[in-house]
Subunit: 152 residues, 2 copies
Amino acid sequence: MTREHPSNPVVLDATARQVLQVFSEKSTALFAPEAPVPDMDNCPVRDVLARVGDKWSLLILVTLSQKPHRFSALQRQVGDISKRMLTQSLRMLERDGLVSRQVFPTKPPSVEYALTALGEAALVPVAALLDWAAGAHDDIRAARRRYDAEAG
Amino acid sequence: MTREHPSNPVVLDATARQVLQVFSEKSTALFAPEAPVPDMDNCPVRDVLARVGDKWSLLILVTLSQKPHRFSALQRQVGDISKRMLTQSLRMLERDGLVSRQVFPTKPPSVEYALTALGEAALVPVAALLDWAAGAHDDIRAARRRYDAEAG
DNA sequence: CAGGATCCCTTTCGATACTG
DNA sequence: CAGTATCGAAAGGGATCCTG
């Protein structure tokens, strides 16, 4: 955060402009100096990308899209996630309103996690991205082999 | 990777099944035992998610979608990225065939980076995700306020 | 059962200095 | 200009132990 930024903003189309503005921490480098710097709590793109990009959130969401799960069942389903990370990931997802948490005061207690409507909606564009990724797999692997082959 | 996995696979629909299979390192916990364990080089979803989720790749792709950029111009546009991370990110994107790199043997040398067709195609589902994120921003922030308000 | 707290190792990434 | 090399701080994340 210490580097200097020359003021040479270029013309970006509206979509990319918005995307960059909400995404970049230092978007002032890309826009007029008087534009307000979006703080991190104000950046939905970084928020969403952080969830999508982290190790477990997406896997949890997809698992919950099948049906609601209790904590332990969720851990078994996801596979090799630790209780620590499962708890932590669920808290973030719950805080963002993507997952609901319902406690049943039985003995011993049971807690059921489920997708909210917002969580289900989130999976729509995510699924599209995953589909693209699956489709582009061959191309990516081919490019990778070419790259590694020359001057490896 | 040391935890044990009971063999209680559940029924998942085909899409989620594929997503989970390519995504989860321990997908054997979710599928039949005889299913081949996808190695990491064979997992396009993790690959793509790693690019989408990391700190700079997406910003670089969006910047390049405007027009090809030289190294220094790209660094200025992105904002507060270090040369180290810019180089590293570009190498990964180039290796995956999303970005092309062309060297002009001038003095001093100049290098131009541009999106490939694959890179442009990748931005389509990514843009959809970003659009959703922008649209869901208010809902997410509202949920967050509610969560933080109660028992903060 | 559903976590919280703690420890510690690994990876990530920024800063800095140097090179063809 | 376009990188490479090295270092250290910070974050991510697993293992383990403890609790209502």
